[in-house]
């Protein structure tokens, strides 16, 4: 009677997956996407290389010693550590060999003479080197004098250091990671929310949306689009994070890998929340227009929120405990960029993060609910710009 049917019913999940799959497979071949991925990775590698170069600037001081370095060698290394200079002790058999090495600039300086009358031979005057060597010679002499007088050095009062400002070096490092991370997060949020918006308008302007909606509901189309591009975006930020962490560990740029990984994981978490909000906002705004040319004007309000969040986040890096940073780290839309910086820079109680996350989830739920209605109402209205109120009304019907 009728043509043989080879189709089977589709669940919402299957439809959403189909839409998401199409988004991923067509976007992954898109030139903008490829270019942006390459750019991001180059950027991260650039930051790493920069860090490595800056670190290698404070190169090792090579100090020549005649005969067995013994106590002096140990003292030189200890002194170098105290002054934040890497010291390498090089042994020479004769004084002449040591002097020649200094002239040939094989070593930065050489300690010659007897222990009673030490002499530092250098090619160019170097105060750091002088300080290291005189400190070392002094401490060896002091140790000898004390030993002769029968005093055990460990009986001397030891200075205990208590840092009131936490581990400030590690804090700075985490803040740097957080700022770099927020730059990446902000760029990817803008990029992928734009992809979502362009996709919505492409379907509207090419009228393919009519064929699509004959087989599915608007929310399934929207969900598939946002999820598909979201998976791609999360994948991209994860790859960047992996390269960043891997590179940082390999080049020994950071001291505390645990802290670094924690900060990066929080960034990934905030990316997911931020993307959910901004992708929905952009999609809803985009559904109001029918041409790519009109996209800019409807996306401006949501883009401004993103830009504001980014600026506040960068500012928060230098003043993480300021009122502005604290207040904005709770504001949905701003929190995905400000909160990770605060978390990295200072002590943020878990409940504070919890409140920011909860507010963000409420905002996402609202946008998805109201926005879904606008989207359904506006999707089939082509020609010109649809007014928000009209779309809401049409979406209700």
């Amino acid at each position: 009677m009728s043509a043989p049917s080879s189709t089977s019913p589709l669940s919402s999940g299957q439809l959403v997956r189909l839409v998401a799959g199409r988004e991923i497979s067509s976007r992954i071949r898109d030139k903008t996407f490829i270019a942006s991925s390459v750019l991001m990775i180059v950027l991260i590698l650039g930051v790493l290389v920069f860090q490595v170069v800056v670190n290698s600037g404070e190169d090792t001081s090579r100090i020549g010693v005649v005969g067995d370095p013994g106590q002096v060698g140990t003292a030189l290394e200890a002194q170098g550590e105290a002054l934040d200079v890497d010291v390498e002790v090089v042994r020479f058999d004769t004084e002449d060999a040591a002097r020649t090495a200094v002239e040939d600039e094989e070593v930065d300086g050489a300690l010659v003479g007897s222990s009673g009358d030490p002499e530092l031979v250098v090619a160019d005057p170097d105060t750091t080197l002088e300080a290291v060597v005189s400190g070392a010679v002094g401490s060896v002499a002091l140790g000898d004098a004390l030993a002769q007088a029968g005093v055990d050095p460990s009986d001397l009062p030891q200075l205990t250091v208590t840092a009131l400002d936490g581990d400030s070096a590690a804090d700075t490092q985490r803040t740097v990671v957080a700022v770099v991370g927020v730059v990446v997060l902000y760029s990817l949020l803008i990029l992928f929310a734009q992809f979502v918006a362009q996709g919505v308008v492409e379907e509207k302007s090419s009228r393919v949306v009519e064929l699509l909606l004959a087989t599915m509901k608007p929310w399934q189309l929207l969900a598939g689009k946002i999820l598909g591009l979201g998976v791609l975006g999360l994948g991209q930020i994860a790859v960047i994070a992996a390269i960043g962490i891997g590179g940082a560990l390999a080049f020994d740029v950071v001291d505390l890998p645990g802290e670094l990984i924690g900060t990066v994981l929080w960034l990934l978490f905030w990316f997911v929340l931020g993307y959910a909000l901004f992708a929905s906002l952009f999609a809803v705004a985009a559904s109001l227009v029918s041409r790519q040319e009109d996209l800019g004007s409807v996306l401006t309000p949501a883009s401004l929120v993103l830009v504001a969040g980014f600026i506040v986040a960068v500012q928060a890096a230098s003043d993480p405990d300021g009122t502005l940073a604290i207040v904005t780290s709770y504001v949905p839309g701003l929190s995905p960029m400000v909160m990770p910086v605060r978390q990295a820079a200072g002590d943020v109680a878990l409940w504070e993060v919890g409140v920011a996350v909860a507010l963000m989830l409420v905002a996402i739920a609202l946008v998805v609910r109201l926005g879904g209605r606008v989207y359904s109402g506006a999707l089939l209205r082509t020609g010109g710009k649809t007014k928000l109120r009209e779309a809401l009304k049409a979406g209700e019907a």
């Binding site: 043509a3 049917s5 189709t7 019913p9 949306v209 004959a214």
Partner: protein, 309 residues
């Protein structure tokens, strides 16, 4: 049976549909005619769930169309729509999958239909690189690729060259022969007349005529009697009871007969004027039928008065 039943739809004060209804039997082709803005597209969009009827419903096999049933309908919207940057083959596969085919079957069907519609060499090209005619073929392939149980096509022939028209007509007839009910709208009435088993004419939101082409032709209003009487004096036929003169020029007369009027009486009256060189019922073309039923009633009355005067 595909049944459109009592569809009403208003946009604000603008009443677009006022009780549109018709049925299409499996394996038959239904031509949907009507002037621009008559409501054809709205009717089809209601069937596809893209617009909501204020009243009335569309049923397939006795059940109102729901999302699942619509998945088994092949649809071609009035405004053509495809992803411009997506490749032909992938696009067809995607639409087949959206209609519920599994990946392998969808890929096979996409290959089959792109081949049958002469797109085999363009499978790997993005749609935007194709000529308009070829894009139209892809659009049709997108409607057919999921082996639909029903076809609803809005202006499928518009923008096609004669070769394209023939290819599309052949494809549709083939679907019909396989038992698929086909509904399509068109302004090309000669095509409708040639292809369709039945025709519906929509005017001002109402069906003003439905039936087979034959049935429509037999309608009295559409039939005229052409009598050529070279020697007759002008106004010869006006005296015959039940006869209305449509036009008269040098003995070539077109007459409309009121119901129950015997055409033999007209012949007798003609013979009384002298030689009769032509006497025959002229079958109205669909175009004439269309003009007749679609014309605004007020205008129509004015035309009648003019002719009578």
């Amino acid at each position: 049976m595909l049944e459109f039943d009592g569809l009403h739809k208003s946009y604000g004060d603008n009443r677009v549909l006022e009780g549109v209804g018709f049925t299409v039997a499996p394996g038959s082709m239904f031509g949907f005619c009507g002037s621009n803005g008559a409501g054809k597209t709205t009717t089809m969009r209601i069937a596809m769930g893209l617009a909501r009827a204020d009243a009335g419903e569309v049923r397939w096999r006795g059940r109102p169309l729901d999302e699942e049933a619509r998945r088994r309908i092949g649809y071609m919207p009035e405004e053509r729509g495809l992803y411009p940057k997506m490749r032909v083959g992938e696009q067809l596969t995607y639409f087949a999958r959206l209609h519920g085919m599994d990946a392998a079957a969808a890929a096979r069907a996409a290959e089959e239909w792109s081949g049958r519609l002469g797109l085999a060499e363009r499978r790997g090209d993005p749609v935007e690189k194709l000529s308009l005619g070829n894009q139209q073929r892809v659009q049709l392939a997108a409607a057919l690729v999921s082996r639909p149980e029903v076809l609803i096509l809005d202006e499928p022939f518009s923008g096609l060259d004669p070769v394209g028209v023939d290819a599309l007509a052949e494809a549709l007839l083939e679907q019909c022969r396989a038992g698929v009910p086909v509904v399509f709208s068109s302004h090309q009435l000669d095509l409708v007349e040639r292809l369709c088993d039945s025709v519906g004419i929509l005017a001002r939101g109402r069906m003003v005529a439905t039936g087979t082409v034959e049935e429509l032709r037999r309608r009295e209003s559409g039939r005229v009697l052409r009598v050529v009487v070279p020697d007759a004096a002008p106004g010869w036929a006006a005296a015959v009871p039940g006869v209305r003169v449509v036009s008269e020029r040098a003995g070539d007369t077109l007459l409309e007969l009121a119901g129950g009027t015997d055409d033999q009486q007209v012949l007798a009256a003609a013979l009384r004027t002298g030689r009769v060189t032509h006497f025959a019922w002229r079958e109205a073309t669909l175009v004439e039928l269309f003009r007749e039923v679609v014309a605004d009633p007020v205008q129509q009355a004015a035309v009648r008065e003019e002719v009578a005067a």
